[in-house]
């Protein structure tokens, strides 16, 4: 019986959490050839959003932004999910990993 109760509680938690996760609008930023695509992403101001960063390169990358207070490693051929906002209207710069060849991916999220 305790096992069944635990199972029910777990199921309720999963059901309860799922809508909260999926309710956030989702955007995708791809990394290809060490560049963010799109380099500029518009999101609604005052709203929390979910951003999937999809690294299609064979090398690790990073999503780093002081203004967004986020620093996340993106392994090669992998995706990570970021939760951003709600943001005040404005432009928020982010960048990829500092590479030895001097090519560092740059991007902007514009909240409006």
């Amino acid at each position: 019986m305790p096992v069944q109760i635990r199972g029910m509680v777990l199921a309720l938690l999963i059901v309860g959490i799922r809508p909260a996760i999926s309710a956030d609008p989702e955007y995708v930023i791809q990394i290809k050839n060490h560049q963010f695509i799109p380099a500029e992403l518009r999101i609604p101001a005052g709203e929390k959003v979910q951003i999937v960063v999809d690294n299609q390169d064979d090398t690790p990358e990073e999503f780093e932004s002081y203004s967004l207070n986020r620093e996340k490693h993106v392994p090669p051929k992998s995706q990570i999910t970021l939760f951003i906002g709600p943001l005040a209207a404005g432009r928020y710069v982010y960048q990829g990993e500092d590479r030895t060849d001097g090519v560092t991916a740059l991007g902007v999220i514009e909240a409006r």
Binding site: P60, Y66, N69, R70, E71, K72, H73, E97
Partner: protein, 255 residues
């Protein structure tokens, strides 16, 4: 009574008076719940605390190597040194720190992590003031961004496995509020507290340890994805069992 004898008796009285007082680590630093995978860091930290009404002067320092093993697990091995009057300087303990980030930053209204820190005192020295034995410290690490202000609060439980002198379970907290002005310069207020004292897990307020004060923080970017993060705090004790003043610092070389 001779002057030297008087000093000796005074010293004994001070020692006896503080016999049941727990040590206050001047090198305490704030744990944060966020983890960066692949990040390696050399962590140098320390502090010096003056004596208080019922606390002896003590200095602590530590050196650690940490690594972000996964997106949600950071681990660090530390070696800690301690100087305490009248014992002197010595190797104090080995520590294994683990931070588990739960969920993603911003996913919930408050970012959550869990700390699990195992400490084994170095017992080879007979002069070691450690009597608590091995311990585990754990608890939730909470963080909230409000615009450019970041607020942290950690509630930490420490359990001593071989404690004979002190309460085997102790409760404490860490807190910080900081303004993220720019990467190399942030300012804030830190607080480190312990609800427990001597044989009581929840001691009356005057017997608790409470240290509060300003902190300056920052991170300097270095070439090739390296950085140097620092924070320096000056804490003032607000109870008899707290050091009157503590100067603490931490430098992390991340690569």
């Amino acid at each position: 009574m001779g002057r030297a004898t008087g000093h000796a008796l005074l010293g004994m009285a001070l020692l006896l008076g503080t016999e049941r007082a727990l040590a206050v680590n001047a090198g305490d630093y704030l744990f944060t719940p966020t983890v960066t995978q692949g990040e390696r860091e050399i962590d140098l930290y320390g502090g010096t605390g003056s004596s208080g009404d019922k606390t002896r002067a003590e200095s602590n320092a530590g050196l650690g190597f940490g690594y972000g093993v996964t997106q949600h697990w950071f681990t660090e091995l530390d070696i800690a040194y301690r100087w305490q009057s009248p014992v002197g300087t010595g190797l104090d303990a080995f520590e294994w720190e683990n931070i588990i980030q739960i969920g993603e930053s911003g996913q919930w209204p408050v970012d959550i992590g869990m700390l699990c820190n195992v400490e084994k005192p170095y017992e080879a020295s007979r002069n070691s003031p450690k009597t608590e034995g091995s311990s585990i410290r754990f608890g939730p690490l909470l963080q909230k961004d409000i615009g450019k202000v970041e607020v942290n609060f950690n509630l930490l439980v420490t359990h001593f496995f071989q404690s004979s002198e002190f309460s085997s379970t102790q409760f404490g907290y860490q807190s910080q509020i900081k303004y993220r002005y720019s990467p190399p310069l942030e300012v804030g207020i830190q607080a480190f507290g312990r609800f427990s004292s001597g044989g009581q897990a929840w001691a009356p307020y005057p017997q608790q340890v409470i240290r509060v004060g300003p902190v300056v923080l920052g991170r300097l970017r270095l070439p090739q994805e390296r950085s140097l993060a620092y924070n320096v705090g000056f804490l003032m004790g607000t109870t008899q069992h707290s050091p009157d003043q503590t100067l603490r610092m931490q430098v992390e070389y991340e690569f």
